[in-house]
Symmetry: C2
């Protein structure tokens, strides 16, 4: 029986800490504030915006919504981002992507000041993750994986960690963040030969394969900690991860569930970044 | 007897190719041009500047030198970089670092336009390496490692690669570049447990440990390709790598020597980036 690395437990601990910090900020006359910038009405964006807004408000973070029509121009979006950059009462910004096709993603995302980039989309934030420095903020999903490991006292120093997936938003930053935490990290992907064999030798596995239930029992060995980043809908219409939970759970020492794992923690990580930005005082 | 991955051979092939491309550019009325920006007279900088200048001139790249006094102000250096940015006849810029302590490294290096950042120092270039895109240019040393592998037809797809070292200038970018080339990459460092065991299982090892002759026979197994990034001076005052060459060479299939390996190739990679920048026409 593996220990279940419940996202809910991480969120409760985080939120308690963040609520205290938000109060301390308000007492100093600073109301921590997140801006959300959305183009159009994609259901995924609207749902995540709602979740992030609820999370932030419970903690004591104000949320300002900027919504542009689906057919907005690049100039209009850049003007909105500039407004966010200039407004000292806003500490962090969540820009929903992918953007509609009329936008130059590279130009738009780098228009945001890295100090307000609480979702890790600017080159400045990427450079911070790359270098393991405190510049900007890491993307919320890999940061949520680290938050779970830290909450459950999984020290990765000198441990073998395997990351399955090399995407820009999860796999690569997760690998760099684990390296900065002194793990010996191997990144596996679709071209990897004998991925199960490599995974069985790991102490910690972060799975961001992007396909439902594909990581089965042949990938696991006793004593391992497994973080499942996947969020998929299975044949029965239920949420499931990239890991075949039924197969993995009897083997490994600890595993994050889906739902109720990494995905649960991301909005709290976003809130943590906003609080940190407010504490830094727009620096 | 290992095959010796001679940097000289890579340089000769590269230079032939680059000379042809430089001529083609000149025929179109574009003289490829590198700017070097140096603060003070550090012997290492002066020596590298001389090597890079000679290499570029042989290929047909013009070199403009900007030299500021050791006690120059940040404003003066930023003005110089701005001059380089504005000058359409300059395609690439090599800024010597580390800078004297009166400078804010982060501000100065990011003042350079990524399209002219032929030595991979800006956040824009780091983001390009991170994402595996063509934005900016990778740092010349890890790019030289890739150049050697490519020249000697070492296809890393699906191969196990180990990078020893996690520095910002070599280890981390080398790992990301190998990942982008479809290798399964493990990054080892000072906190890694049983590094020799991990290395013995690799197909390709890139060594950037930063200490003379420390990677001995226990790290190697038959069939491996070894790229030694280290440049050190041994007890007898001779150049040596991080790999104990005498111990490694009888075991492995191929190894780059020191001197005459990676270090030999870096200035040609710099020249390659300048030619590419000139071909892109300041875009």
């Amino acid at each position: 029986m593996a220990k279940i690395l419940s996202g809910k437990e991480v969120v409760e601990a985080l939120n308690e800490n963040l609520t205290t910090r938000a109060k301390a900020l308000v007492e100093k006359g600073v109301t921590p504030c997140l801006a959300t910038v959305r183009v159009g009405e994609r259901p995924d964006d609207v749902a995540y915006e709602r979740g992030a807004t609820n999370r932030c408000k419970k903690i004591g973070i104000e949320v300002k919504h900027f919504v542009l029509p689906e057919n907005a121009s690049q100039e209009e979006l850049l003007a909105t981002i500039d407004e966010v950059n200039q407004d000292d009462s806003i500490h962090g910004c969540l820009l929903f992507r992918p953007l509609p096709k009329q936008f130059n993603d590279e130009v738009v995302r780098n228009a945001l000041l890295p100090k307000k980039d609480v979702d890790g989309i600017t080159n400045g934030s990427l450079a911070g993750v790359f270098a393991g420095t405190d510049q900007g903020y890491p993307p919320c999903t890999p940061a949520a994986c680290m938050e779970i490991l830290e909450h459950f006292d999984v020290d990765v120093t000198g441990k073998k960690a395997v990351v399955i997936g090399r995407s820009l938003v999860v796999g690569r930053p997760a690998a760099l963040m684990l390296t900065s935490r002194n793990a010996t990290v191997t990144v596996c992907h679709t071209k990897t030969v004998d991925m199960p064999g490599i995974c069985r030798e790991a102490d910690v596995i972060v799975v961001a394969a992007g396909r439902a239930n594909v990581i089965g029992k042949e990938y696991f060995s006793p004593g391992q900690t497994v973080i499942d980043v996947g969020i998929n809908i299975d044949e029965d219409g239920k949420f499931c991860g990239d890991v075949n939970f039924e197969e993995a759970e009897p083997i490994v020492a600890a595993i994050s569930p889906v739902p109720g794992g990494v995905g649960t923690v991301t909005t709290s990580v976003l809130a943590k970044h906003v609080i940190k930005a407010a504490e830094r005082g727009n620096k």
